[in-house]
C-alpha cells in the first residue's frame, strides 16, 4: 500500500511537534523515521495510525485521504516500544484479539494465533500470560499481534529499545527478513542510526518537527545534504572542523587545524574562495599508521576490531578509526593520512551541503 503525507502538521497548543512533513512511501517499502528524541517521528507515526489527529495536512493510503478514519478502519498493525501486551490475557488471546473484535469464531482464532505464533517462533507459549515471558518473547507476541490482522501497513515505534544488545541484533534481522518475505509496507521509528541504515530501504531524517532528509542509507552516508544528517548518520560520528579551501600549486588544499589537506578538484571547486566552511571527515577516512600528518594520541577506545583514537594535531583533535593490530596507546605519536575523496563541506550559517543540491 502506498502512503503519502502532505504538509502534515501537528501542534499541541503552543508547541509544534510536526511541521509540514511531505513524504511518499511506496508499496512494500521499509522506511525508517530517524532522529533524536522530540523530533516528531513518533507523533508522525501516531497520526498515520490514527491515534492523533493532524492539525492540518493529509494522510493518504493508496490515494485516499484517511484523516477521518478511526484506527480500526485503517488496516494498520502497530508494535510498541513497551510491547503494550494485554497482561490479563494469554498470548493466544493477545494475538487473536483483533480477530475476536471482528467476530471471527473461536476455532479459527486459535488456528490463526497458532500459525502466527509458529511464524514468530513462540508457538509453544500460546497459553502463557505476558508476565511469564522474557522481553524477547513479549516482543515477538507484539509483532505477532500486529501481523495477524494482515495489515496494509506495519508501524514500529522503537520496538527494540527495551531489549538487551544481543537480542536487539537478532530481532533486527528477523524483522527485516520477515518484512521482505511478507512485503508489507513498513514504517520504523528509531533514534538508532545503525538500526535505520541496516534495515531501511529509505530513511526519513527528522529534526525539530521537520523532515531534514529523505533518501536511501547509502545516499545519506555519502551525500548528506545537511550538517545535521552528516553528523547523525554514520558511526562513529563525523569530525566537523572549520576550514578554508584555497588553490595551491595548481590544485586545492583545505586549511584546517594547522594542517593542509590536498583535495580532489571536484570536491574543491564548489567551495574554494569562501572565507570559512565547515568540513566533515569521517573517522573511517582517516588512515592511521603512515602519512603526511602527525599528532599525539589522547584517548584510545577499543571497539573490538578497531580502536577509536583521538589524535591531537596541535590546534584541534580528530577522531580516527585505527586497526587494532597497530597497538596504539595514549601518548603515542602517530602519523596519518586523510582520504579526501570522501570529505564533506557545509555552509557555516545555513548548515547546508556545498557539494550536493
Amino acid at each position: 500500500m502506498k502512503i503519502e503525507l502532505r504538509r502534515l502538521t501537528k501542534t499541541w497548543g503552543e508547541t509544534t511537534a510536526v511541521a509540514g512533513v511531505d513524504l511518499d512511501i511506496d508499496d512494500g517499502e521499509f522506511v525508517a523515521f530517524l532522529g533524536p528524541s522530540g523530533c516528531g517521528k513518533t507523533t508522525t507515526l501516531m497520526m498515520i495510525a490514527g491515534i492523533y489527529q493532524p492539525t492540518s495536512g493529509e494522510i493518504l493510503f493508496d490515494g485516499e485521504v484517511v484523516n477521518d478514519l478511526a484506527p480500526r478502519d485503517r488496516g494498520v498493525g502497530m508494535v510498541f516500544q513497551s510491547y503494550a501486551l494485554y497482561p490479563h490475557m494469554t498470548v493466544a488471546e493477545n494475538i487473536s484479539y483483533s480477530l475476536k473484535l471482528r467476530g471471527v469464531d473461536k476455532v479459527t482464532r486459535r488456528r490463526r494465533a497458532q500459525e502466527i505464533a509458529d511464524l514468530m517462533g513462540i508457538g509453544h507459549l500460546l497459553d502463557r500470560k505476558p508476565a511469564e515471558l522474557s522481553g524477547g518473547q513479549q516482543q515477538r507476541v507484539a509483532v505477532g499481534r500486529a501481523l495477524v490482522k494482515e495489515p496494509r501497513v506495519l508501524l514500529f515505534d522503537e520496538p527494540l529499545s527495551n531489549l538487551d544488545a544481543r537480542l536487539r541484533l537478532t530481532m533486527r534481522s528477523e524483522i527485516k527478513r520477515m518484512q521482505t518475505e511478507l512485503g508489507i509496507t513498513s514504517i520504523y521509528v528509531t533514534h538508532d542510526q545503525v538500526e535505520a541504515t541496516t534495515m531501511a530501504d529509505r530513511i526519513a531524517v527528522m529534526r525539530g518537527g521537520r523532515l531534514e532528509a529523505y533518501a536511501d542509507p547509502d545516499e545519506l552516508y555519502r551525500r548528506p545534504q545537511t550538517l545535521f544528517v552528516a553528523g547523525f548518520v554514520g558511526n562513529p560520528p563525523m569530525n566537523i572542523v572549520d576550514a578554508q579551501v584555497v588553490g595551491l600549486n595548481g590544485g586545492f588544499v583545505a586549511q584546517t587545524l594547522g594542517i593542509e589537506i590536498p583535495l580532489p578538484d571536484d570536491r574543491s571547486r564548489p567551495v574554494v574562495g569562501r572565507r570559512s566552511v565547515k568540513m566533515g571527515i569521517r573517522p573511517e577516512h582517516i588512515l592511521v599508521g603512515s602519512g603526511p600528518f602527525a599528532g599525539e594520541v589522547v584517548l584510545v577506545e577499543p571497539l573490538g576490531r578497531e580502536d577509536l583514537v583521538d589524535i591531537d594535531v596541535g590546534s584541534g583533535t580528530l577522531r580516527a578509526l585505527a586497526d587494532r593490530s597497530l597497538g596504539i596507546r595514549p601518548r603515542d605519536r602517530v602519523s596519518f593520512e586523510i582520504n579526501s575523496a570522501e570529505v564533506q563541506f557545509f555552509d557555516p550559517e545555513t548548515e547546508r551541503s556545498l557539494l550536493w543540491g
Partner: protein
C-alpha cells in the same frame, strides 16, 4: 486536494458521543441529587413551608427567612462555632494528626506501622451511634465514666467531662474519625516516594526533622492539598457526630454548628413544627459558603495542574 481542517467534525462528534455515554450515569445522579436539590432548597428557602402547612400550596415569603436567619440572636455564635470547629479539627486532626500518623507509621517497621494504622481506622468503620456511645461513656461522671475511673487515683476531680468541656469531645470524636482519611492517603503517598530520593537526601546530611520538612512534606504536596480541601468540605457539612454527642448543647448552642442548625430547624421539633423553609435557608447559605470555599481552594491550589491531557484523540 484541499487541506483537511483541524479536528474534523466526525472525530469531534465521535469523541463527544463517547464521553457523553460514559458520563451519563454520573450526570443523572448529579442532576437528581445535587443540582435539583440545590435549586429546590433555594426555592424552599423562599417559602414558609413547614410540617404544619405542607399540604397547602406553597406560600412564597421572599427573603424573610434570610432576614430572620441573619437577625437571629445566635447567628454570630453559630457562625463562630462553625469556623472554629472546622479549622481547629482540620488543623489538629484531619490534616495535622493524619500527617503525624502517616510519618510515624512509615518510619517504624512495616508490621508495626500496619498495626497502628489498623487501630486508627477503627473509629471510621464503627457505626456512629456505637462510636459516640463509647466516648460518652468515657466522659461520664462517676461511677460510670471510664476516664474518671482511670484518672481518679491520680487526684483528678471527677466531673462529667462532656458537660464540662463539650468542645473538647466534639473535636476529639470527629477528629479521631477524620484523621484516618488523611492518614491513609498520606501513607500511600509517602510510601511511593522513590527510596533513592530519600537515600540521596540522607547522604546529603538530612535526617529526622530536616528530612521531613525539606523532603517528605514537599514531595506529598498534592495529597496534602487534596485532603485539606476534601476534609474542609467534610467538616463543614457534617454534623452527625455532634448531633449524637451533644445535640449542639449543652445548654444553648454551645457546640452548635451551622450544619446542625440547618438540620434541626428543618427536621427537629424544637419549635413546635418542622420549619422546612427556614431550615432550607440555613442549608442554602451553607451550600453557598461551601461552594465558595471549594472554589477558593481549587483556584489557590491550582488543581487544574493535575489534569493531564488524554493521549488518544
Amino acid at each position: 486536494m484541499a487541506t483537511v481542517a483541524e479536528d474534523s467534525p466526525t472525530r469531534r462528534r465521535r469523541r463527544r458521543l463517547a464521553a457523553v455515554g460514559f458520563l451519563t450515569p454520573a450526570m443523572v445522579l448529579v442532576v437528581a441529587f445535587y443540582l435539583i436539590p440545590a435549586v429546590l432548597t433555594l426555592i424552599l428557602s423562599l417559602t414558609d413551608l413547614s410540617s404544619a402547612n405542607f399540604t397547602e400550596p406553597w406560600n412564597f415569603i421572599g427573603l424573610d427567612n434570610y432576614r430572620r436567619l441573619f437577625g437571629d440572636a445566635f447567628f454570630p455564635k453559630i457562625l463562630k462555632n462553625t469556623l472554629f470547629y472546622v479549622f481547629v479539627t482540620l488543623g489538629l486532626f484531619n490534616v495535622g494528626l493524619a500527617l503525624v500518623l502517616a510519618l510515624l507509621t512509615t518510619s517504624i517497621p512495616r508490621r508495626a506501622g500496619f498495626f497502628f494504622r489498623m487501630l486508627w481506622l477503627l473509629p471510621r468503620i464503627t457505626p456512629s451511634v456505637v462510636y459516640v456511645m463509647m466516648w460518652v461513656r468515657m466522659a461520664q461522671q462517676p461511677p460510670f465514666g471510664i476516664f474518671n475511673q482511670l484518672a481518679g487515683p491520680f487526684g483528678l476531680e471527677p466531673e462529667n467531662w462532656l458537660f464540662e468541656t463539650p468542645w473538647l469531645f466534639v473535636i476529639l470524636t470527629n477528629g479521631f474519625v477524620g484523621a484516618s482519611f488523611g492518614m491513609i492517603i498520606f501513607t500511600s503517598a509517602l510510601e511511593s516516594i522513590p527510596r533513592d530520593v530519600i537515600t540521596a537526601a540522607r547522604v546529603d546530611g538530612a535526617s529526622g526533622w530536616r528530612l521531613i520538612r525539606d523532603m517528605k512534606i514537599p514531595l506529598i504536596k498534592w495529597p496534602l492539598l487534596f485532603v485539606a480541601t476534601y476534609q474542609t468540605m467534610s467538616l463543614l457539612t457534617s454534623f452527625e457526630y455532634i448531633l449524637l454527642l451533644t445535640e449542639g448543647g449543652p445548654g444553648l448552642f454551645t457546640t452548635e454548628v451551622w450544619a446542625l442548625t440547618s438540620y434541626k430547624r428543618a427536621l427537629g421539633t424544637y419549635f413546635g413544627n418542622n420549619q422546612w423553609g427556614y431550615g432550607a435557608a440555613w442549608g442554602f447559605v451553607l451550600v453557598v459558603i461551601g461552594f465558595l470555599f471549594s472554589l477558593l481552594y481549587v483556584k489557590i491550589f491550582r488543581f487544574n495542574q493535575l489534569v493531564k491531557e488524554p493521549l488518544i484523540e
